[in-house]
């Protein structure tokens, strides 16, 4: 891995804070408190923390879905807005959010269609992505006919369609059962290792975070701050055997302790 080269960060946040007005309670909620974060190109970074710690907020700021109250965000030197308009951001939400009137193929090709790509070309690219996420044979099927895990595969293929420079994933497997979730983790590791894309991944599960990531960022309860950056020095390509590696349990233990301390503070 190119971790030692200390490359220029692909995504960089400096002093990012977010506060919300809550008019009904006449109070202000601080969701994020001066977050500094640098994500190297081609790495997999997980954000982990208790509910409401602002990890989803952080992801939505990078995707230009919300603006920070203070601070700067840059994606390869661009603002989130211009990176988004240049279609360099892929986003996988907790819900698959597929269009129920479109086939899997047309759902995956949607971002390319919005970009104005000709039908033949976007369909051939979408077919390759459908193959990559293991959905071959389901191109013509409607989303309502898919299982939860398959819907999320389609959603991941859609997010990859514009060949984004960074993929943001907001608890994409949170609604799946444990067996499906383990399988999806394996598939995601494979897709990540094959494409070399940069991923920022939000999760509640420290085991999932360690299994997938190069870096696990632990956040405190609200107002969200970064309390620790755990470097995961486990070999790639990863498979389920990684969990038998003593380092795996050690890192999970460190992460779990950090999370608990966050609660006590």
């Amino acid at each position: 891995m190119s971790v030692e080269v200390a490359p220029v960060p692909l995504v960089e946040l400096s002093g990012v804070s977010v506060t919300y007005d809550v008019p009904r309670q006449k109070s202000v909620v601080e969701a994020l408190q001066s977050v500094d974060l640098a994500i190297a190109k081609g790495t997999f970074t997980s954000l982990i923390g208790p509910s409401g710690c602002g990890k989803s907020t952080l992801l939505r700021i990078v995707a230009d879905l919300i603006a920070p109250t203070t601070g700067r965000v840059s994606i390869e030197g661009q603002t989130p807005a211009s990176a988004r308009r240049a279609r360099q951001i892929g986003f996988v939400f907790q819900e698959p959010a597929l269009l129920e009137w479109r086939s899997v193929l047309d759902n995956v090709a949607l971002p390319l269609e919005l970009q104005g790509m000709a039908r033949a070309q976007r369909e051939s690219e979408a077919r390759q992505l459908i193959d990559l996420v293991g959905l071959s044979g389901f191109e013509a099927v409607w989303p309502s006919q898919l299982s939860g895990g398959m819907k999320q595969r389609a959603s991941i293929a859609r997010a990859l369609s514009t060949s984004p420079h960074v993929m943001l994933m907001d608890e994409p497997f949170g609604a799946l059962d444990q067996i499906t979730r383990d399988r999806m983790n394996l598939e995601l590791v494979r897709v990540f290792e094959q494409t070399g894309i940069t991923v920022l991944f939000v999760t509640h599960s420290i085991r999932e975070a360690v299994f997938l990531s190069d870096n696990v960022i632990v956040m405190s309860p609200r107002p969200g701050r970064i309390v620790r950056n755990i470097e995961v020095d486990l070999p790639r390509p990863r498979n389920l055997l990684v969990r038998d590696n003593p380092t795996f349990d050690e890192l999970v233990g460190i992460g779990a302790r950090e999370l608990e301390q966050g609660y006590d503070a």
Partner: protein, 259 residues
Amino acid sequence: MAQRFGTLARMAGPPIVAAVVMVGLWEGVCHLFSIAPYIVPAPTRIWAAFVSKPGSLLFNGGVTFLEAISGFVIGSVLGALLGTAFAYSRLLARGLLPYIIAANTIPVVAIAPIIILWFGHGMQSKVAVTAFLSFFPLALNMMKGLQSYDRVVMDVFHVSAASEWQRFFKMRLPNALPYVFVGLKLNVTFSVIGAIVAEFVQADKGLGFVIMTTYRTLNMPRLWAAMLLSAVIGILFFALIAWIEKRTIPWHSSMREDR
């Protein structure tokens, strides 16, 4: 093919049997109790009234159908446009929606004479009454349909840098279609009612005109024939819309056949 015929027989069988039994009972009761034809004419008498001058009834039925479908199209299109405006402008919806709902509660029989006065004695005034009735269901359903999109899907479009037009045509409009068809199906019934009520007020052709004139002469079998023809028109019209719906939104959960 044989399987398809079997499905058809299973679907159409019960209502056909029920119709045969009901018509048979009706015929029998009329004869058995010697019910006067002007109170309840027997089915055979109604049929005789129909076949004695079928051209005339079919012509008048055609006039009513033409008025109904023209008003249906005009009212639905205008309603859909206003519903779209409401969905995009909260201010407009807040200002006008109460009056739209109030106007919708005006009984059609009360407003029909006024509209006929405005639009004259021809078919155009009947079309206007029908359009008036068809306007509200589409305005309200279009607004609701365009507003009922999934927030996360909107986020997907935002991240994909979709234009406002793309958001409308590729997301909000297809999402609104099931609502649109609810409105259109309501309008099928309303438009036939609208056309006939308008003909009651003033007309020299159409099924409403036939019903009024046969009522004055107590030619009840012919009146019943006109009434049943109006029902047939409504059923065929409804079937047409349902057929279009099935081809337009086959993906929607209401279209699943395993229910």
